[in-house]
Every structure is written in C-alpha cells, then in structure tokens.
C-alpha cells in the first residue's frame, strides 16, 4: 500500500514539474499591446502555475490506478476503504485553502488593481451599431479607425443607439472588453504601451464580441497605436477636413 503511495507521489511531482515547465515555456498570448494586457497575462500565468499541481495530482492518481489496479473483472473485491476520518478533512482543508488563495490572488487583488486608476489623458466615445463601429474624438471628428497615441491612458465611453442591440467592444491586444449597451454608457480604461498596426496584426482590431445578428463576425474596426507626433499629425489632418 505504502509503495503505491510513494510511486504515485513521485508521479505527481513529475507531472507537476512537467506542467510547470510547459506553463513557463508556453506563450499562448496574442501581441501584448497595453499595460492591462501585461497584467491579464500575468494573472493567466499565475493561475496556470497554481493549477499545475492540481492537474498533476489528478493525472498521477488516475494514470497510476489505471495502469496498476486493473483486473479482469473476476468478481474479486477491492479493500473496503470508506474514506472517513482524516483524509477527507485534510482534502477539504487543502482545497478550501487553494480556493481562498486564488480568490484573493490573482482574483480580488487583480480586480482592485484593475479599478484603481481612474485618471486618463484622452477620452473617446465609441458607438457600436449593426454592424460597424465609430469613434468620436474630442476634437470633434469621427473615425472608423481607432488610432491611439502610445503610453497615454485612454478612457473609452462605449454605447449603442437606443434602438440597436448589444455589442461588445474588444481589442485582443489590450485584453479588455466591455459591452455596448443600447441607451447606456459603459467605460473602459486602457494604456497602450506598444506601437501596433491592425493591418499586419489581427490582435489590433476592435472586434464585436457579443452576438448581434447577421454580420456579427464582420463587425470589426482596425486599431493603430502610434507615437505622439504621428497621433498629433493624424488628428490635425482629420480635424482639418
């Protein structure tokens, strides 16, 4: 009995190590284009690290049992272990601790961080309607391309016309989304910190992420993050027209 536990325990360590190594090496993410994206990817990685030992545990127990405890179904009974006493209690304590840890970090701490900074350098209004996006800049012009200056904190006021349907404003490179609700204004704060261009990178697109009917899939708008000078030139050109 003890030998089984030892071998399965070693398997657990091996599987956990493999899962951790995999998680450390993997890069499943799209282009990182904003501070918020770094933050989200970090939380994603943390949860993967925390999940690795859990995954490793189940896999070790499962695989070891399947390989080691087979029978031909002769009707012989296994040992009558009932699972009363210390084991379930320790299990409950462990899983509860794990759950509480994940709740707090990266959960609640992350949430607090996400909401902490409500200042902004630039404010734009985004409207989603079936099936396109339009951005209103403070200089008074509208654009069907989202152009943002790098390293500036932007506040988005997102909405949809009162007679329209739900949409959702999402830029994969920024990792944030918020629904465009008819007759209501929702907000998002984003600080792009890398240059990027939707023409070459699919992560730089505003994509509607709430089913809105016929052309939902096509409800996109290119995103470009540019230097401050380029941005000013672009605004001047747009506002001049």
């Amino acid at each position: 009995m003890n030998r089984h536990l030892w071998i399965a325990g070693i398997l657990w360590v091996v599987f956990t190590a493999l899962a951790l190594a995999g998680a450390a090496l993997m890069n499943p993410f799209p282009t990182v284009g904003a501070e918020e994206a770094e933050f989200s990817d970090h939380a994603f990685r943390m949860m993967t690290y925390m999940g690795a030992p859990v995954f490793g545990f189940v896999m070790a127990a499962l695989l070891y049992s399947v390989l080691r405890f087979r029978s031909g179904g002769g009707g012989e009974d296994g040992p009558p272990i009932r699972g009363v006493g210390a084991v379930p209690r320790v299990w409950l304590l462990t899983t509860t601790t794990l759950a509480v840890v994940v709740m707090i970090y990266p959960g609640l701490t992350g949430l607090a961080e996400l909401r902490s900074d409500r200042t902004h350098d630039l404010e734009v209004n985004v409207t989603g309607f079936r099936w396109a996006w339009v951005v209103q800049y403070p200089e008074g012009f509208a654009s069907q391309e989202l152009v943002l200056p790098v390293d500036q904190r932007v506040k988005f006021n997102v909405t949809a016309p009162a007679g329209d349907v739900l949409h959702s404003f999402w830029v994969p490179a920024f990792r944030l989304k918020i629904d465009a609700v008819p007759g209501q204004i929702t907000n998002l704060y984003i600080t792009p910190n890398e240059l990027g261009d939707g023409a070459t990178d699919a992560a730089y697109r505003v994509q509607c992420a709430e089913l809105c009917g016929l052309y939902h899939a096509r409800m996109q708008m290119p995103v470009r993050v540019v230097t401050a000078e380029e941005y000013e030139a672009w605004v001047a050109e747009k506002a001049g027209k």
């Binding site: 999940g51 405890f69 179904g73 296994g78 008819p182 929702t186 699919a202």
Partner: protein
C-alpha cells in the same frame, strides 16, 4: 399511429387557433396573418391537439369526464404512444434525445466545415448563425434532459425499490412535450432560422426574424418538461423508497438525480419567464427590454443566467452520480467518502443559485457586483473537489474492470479536471474580461458539458444498456467508439483554448486569416470525433436488434436494479424488496446484502 393522430390534431389545433385570431384581426381591419402573433396563439392550441392525439385523452383525460381510461398495449407498439410505465418512458426519452444529439452533432460537422477556412464556404452568414444556434439549443436540451429523462426515469425507481415514479401520468405528459420542442426548432430553421444562439439576448431577440418566436415557444415548452420531471423525481425519491432504503443507503446516482431535480424545479421558471417577456415585447408591444422605451437589456441577462447557470448543474449533478456509480461497481470498492459526496451535491445546489453574474463581468452591470460573484463562483470548486476526492479514492487500490462504461467514467475524471481548472480563468475577472465570448469559453464549456456530462452519459448508457434492452452491447465496437471519441475530443477542444486566447471570438461565421491554421486542425479533428459516433450508432442498433441476451447482473453489481431480470418484469419486483445495508459494501467482511427480495420468489433469469 397515435403519433399520426397527434400530428393531425396538432395541425387542426393550429389552424383553429390561428383562424380565430385571424378572424378577430380581420374584423379589426388588420391582416389575417401575423407570423409572430399567429404562432404564439396557434402553437398552444396545436400543443393541446398533439397531447390529446398521442394518447393523453384515451389514457388519462377521458377519466375527468367520467369515462374509463384504455389499457395500454404490450410489445413494441407502446413505445410509440402515451404510456405511463417509467421503463417505457425512460427508453422513449433515451431514443429521442440520442436522435437529437446526433442531429445537433451533424450540425456541428457543418459548422466545422464552414470554419475550416477563412472566408465563407458552405453557408451564408445568416445560415451560419442559424446552424450555430440550432446546434447550441439542441445540445443544451440534450444535456439538460437526457440523463434524468432516460436513466433517471428508468433506473431511479428500480434502484430505490419502487414500482414506478410517484406521478406516472405527469411523467408521460412531460415526455410527450418533448417532440413538439424538436419539431418547433426544426420548423424555426425552415422558416428562416434565428440568430441569437441558445441564449436569446434581447434587444436582438426582440428585433430579429420570426424564427425567434418559435424558438421561444419551443424552449418554454422544454422548461415545462424540466419542471414536471423535477417535481416527479423529488416526490419519487422522497416517498417511494422501499422499506429500509434510508437516505444514507441511497445509491449515489439517486442522490445525483435528486440534487439535479431540485435545481430544475427551483430555477427553470427564470428562463421561461425571460423568454415569455421577450414574446410579450414582440407580440403585445410591452417594453421589458426596449432601451428606447425605458426597458433594460441587462435585466434579461440577470434573469437568464439566474436559471442558466444552475442549469449546468442540472446537467452535471446526475452525471456525477452516474460516474461515481460506475466507478464504485467496476472498481469493486465502497464508494469513497459517500457522506461527503452527498454533502457536496447539496452544497452545489445551494451555491449554484448565487453565481450567475459570472457570465456578466463584461456586461456593464454595476462594478460592485464583480467581487462577490468572483468569490462565490470560486467557492463552487470546494464541493466539486470532493467529487474528485471520491472518484480518485474509489478507484485507488480497486479492482478496475476496464470495460467500455469504465473507460468513459475514467475519461470523465480527466475531462472534468481540464474543464474545472479552465473555469478558474473565467471566474477571475481580470482574465475573464479578455476571455469572455472567445473560443476559450467554447472549449471550456465543451470540456465540462461534453467531456463531462456527455462522457458520463456514455458511461451510463453502456453500463445500463444490458438492463434496459435485455441485450449485451458489442464490447469491441464500444471500445473503438471510446478511443476515437476520447482522442478526437482532445484534438478538437485543446486548440480551441489556444485560438480563443489568441483573439478568436465565438459565434462567428468567419474570422481573420491569422487563425486559419488552428481552425483547419480543429475541423479535421472534429470530423474524426464525428466518426466515433458512427461506431456508437452501429453498436446500438446491431446490439439492440441481435445482440447476445443479457444476464440479470452482467457486472456483478450490488444495487437493486441488477437483482431483477434484464429487462425487469412489468412491475419491477415480484415481491417487496427490503433494504438491509449500504449500496456499496464490496469487500466489507460479513456485510449484509444490499437488498433482500420479499417473500414472492424473484426471477433470476439465465
């Protein structure tokens, strides 16, 4: 025959209902026909015609008017009309939902064909949305009802030593409401489909095509199926247990069915109410969800998820029960931590009602709701962890008999681990705000619903097949089905996590070229997964028609359903069974047998 009469009466009812409405409308100077309103009025009348026709009158309602109910026929014929035997109803549910499962699966194949390349190949955008929506609601219906409908009905009364369900008539009624659901969804496709998925979010569902009205009517009917079934299981399990069947001796599948039924009974109204409000907005002109007239679209999301999150536990709690049942009997060990599992099942029932808004972290609801729903959602992992403890504790050091049902039950543990762990990313607000409504979510819920519940369903199906049909299935075909399905499943849904994180959102008919490689791989894997069901279907048909005759207890299991013949006699037990010990006393020295059959000799066939 009865089905034909039902269909004719349904058509008569529909024509009458829409005719009366048309008469009123014409007299008011309106057009005779209004698709939304005519269907809303014609359908309930048609439904009554259908129920009368399939036998609701002959076998039941006639008694209300002093008549005498007919006696049901024997043989194959009884499966095709109103019947109150829980064993007949179990098979009716099982076959109907397997057919709906294969149909919705076929739709998934078409979807994958469309998504194989960037750009449109097979469908228009509009057709894609309809196909996706049909696949979604079809599979949700299967997932909610097949476990309880087929195995709950057939097995629960046998396991608790009852002669039938508590309310056999209500049971027949709830089954016969199912075909109209499927028929309405198919008609909805034929008149142009609908494009709101299975979730029917307004304002889109208020503004879109008339197929939506049929969807709403169908799904409200389906809600009724679920509620009536729920009441019946609750009453049966409370009142119909054999002498000696204390709560602490109930087989775990019965506990799973009980917990799932509690949720179905308490929460389904929410969904039905939401859909009814959409109908009212469309047909009568109310403005529950019309922002322009003071309504709130977010209101619907709350109402909808208030049911639809618990609904995933209607799917999965009976599945937990079935898997643990198979694991214990096929490892020949007592179910590990039985009492803890019961506590966990009831704990999940309680928590499931207060986590719904985790589907709404990006909806624009009030910010202060985020933290509590994050915390409550992650609390669900605690009772779920106990289910894992029991599964692992049960197989540990057991005598694992690796037959087809056992393979599916073990695969459930693997799949649900992946599904459960990826759920944490979605409960965590900072990551969910990116992942919500992407293919990451699609992969997650397929791991829990398909990898979890549907794998459990196949474990249950193969496990109880000999009992229900009296025939043994073909083990080789069963194993081929398992391995192709298991491997195909991983190959389809693992890459979906990845492509979702990369930025592919869900419910899209088309996507940027950057995601093409992933999608091509997923589609080919999808076809592989699809092929596994050919082996399944072949096995079912061949084995049922000419499989070897099954013995009473092919698995040597201890619970009551295996102590009677396969299939069981008409009234389940010849004598009154008496329960004298736990359900899983494998290897316990001098343990009394779980059950003793009453005085009248009980058939031990073959």
């Amino acid at each position: 025959m009865a089905i034909l009469v039902g269909l004719v009466l349904a058509v008569v009812g529909f024509v009458t209902g829409t005719g009366i409405l048309g008469g009123i409308r014409t007299s008011m100077g309106l057009e005779y026909w209004s698709t939304d309103m005519s269907w809303s009025v014609g359908y309930p009348v048609a439904l009554i015609g259908w129920l009368i026709g399939v036998g609701g009158w002959k076998y039941w309602a006639v008694e209300w008017f002093g008549g005498k109910a007919a006696t049901p026929p024997k043989g194959v014929k009884r499966y095709f009309e109103w019947n109150m035997d829980h064993k007949v109803i179990g098979i009716q549910y099982g076959v109907t939902f397997v057919v709906l499962f294969l149909l919705s699966g076929l739709t998934a194949m078409l979807i994958r064909f469309e998504l194989m390349n960037s750009g449109m190949q097979l469908f228009t955008e509009d057709q894609y949305n309809s196909a996706m929506s049909f696949h979604g609601i079809g599979m949700v219906a299967v997932a909610v009802a097949i476990m309880l409908g087929a195995f709950g009905n057939y097995i629960v009364p046998l396991q608790i030593g009852a002669r039938d369900m508590a309310f056999p008539r209500v049971n027949a009624l709830s089954y016969w409401l199912v075909p109209p659901v499927a028929i309405m969804l198919i008609i909805a496709l034929l008149i142009g489909g609908w494009d709101t998925g299975w979730t029917a979010y307004p304002p889109l569902s208020v503004l879109t095509k008339s197929g939506q009205v049929l969807f709403n009517l169908a799904v409200i009917t389906f809600g009724l199926v679920s509620i009536l079934g729920g009441i019946n299981f609750i009453a049966t399990i409370i009142y119909e247990r054999a002498p000696g069947m204390t709560w602490g001796r109930l087989p775990i599948f019965v506990w799973g069915a009980f917990a799932g039924s509690l949720i179905a009974f308490f929460f389904t109204q929410g969904f039905a109410a939401g859909l009814l409000m959409i109908l009212l907005d469309r047909v009568v002109g109310t403005s529950f969800f019309h922002a322009a007239e003071g309504g709130s679209p977010i209101l619907y999301e709350h109402v909808f998820w208030f049911y639809s999150h618990p609904a995933v536990y209607v799917m999965v709690l009976p599945a937990f029960g079935a898997v643990l049942e198979v694991l214990a009997h096929m490892s020949r060990k007592p179910l590990y931590a039985y009492r803890w599992v019961v506590g966990a099942l009831l704990g999940i029932v309680a928590i499931s009602g207060v986590v719904w808004a985790h589907h709404m972290f990006t909806s624009g609801m009030e910010d202060y709701l985020h933290a509590p729903f994050l915390v409550l959602t992650e609390m669900i992992s605690i009772p779920t962890g106990i289910i894992f403890l029991s599964a692992i504790g049960t197989i540990w050091a057991g005598r694992l008999w690796m037959r087809t049902p056992m393979l599916f039950a073990l695969a459930f543990i693997f799949n649900f681990t992946v599904g459960g762990l990826t759920g944490i990313y979605l409960a965590d607000v900072p990551t969910d705000i990116h992942l919500h409504d992407t293919y990451f979510v699609v992969a997650h819920f397929h791991y829990t619903i398909m990898g979890g519940e549907i794998f459990a369903l196949f474990a249950a199906l193969y496990y109880w097949f000999p009992k229900m049909t009296g025939r043994q299935f073909n083990e080789t075909l069963g194993k081929i089905h398992f391995w192709i399905m298991f491997i195909g499943f991983q190959l389809v849904f693992i890459p979906m996590f990845q492509v979702g994180v990369k930025g592919m959102n869900r419910r899209v008919a088309d996507y940027p070229e950057a995601y093409e490689d992933f999608n091509r791989f997923i589609s080919w894997s999808g076809f592989l997964l699809g092929i596994s069901f050919i082996f399944f279907a072949a096995n079912m048909v061949l084995s049922w028609v000419r499989g070897e005759r099954a013995v009473a207890n092919p698995w040597g299991a201890s619970t009551l359903e295996w102590q009677v013949s396969s299939p069981p006699p008409e009234h389940n037990f010849e004598g009154q069974p008496v329960i004298q010990g736990g359900a899983y006393e494998y290897g316990v020295p001098n343990a009394p047998a779980h059950a003793r059959m009453g005085t009248a000799a009980v058939t031990e066939h073959v």
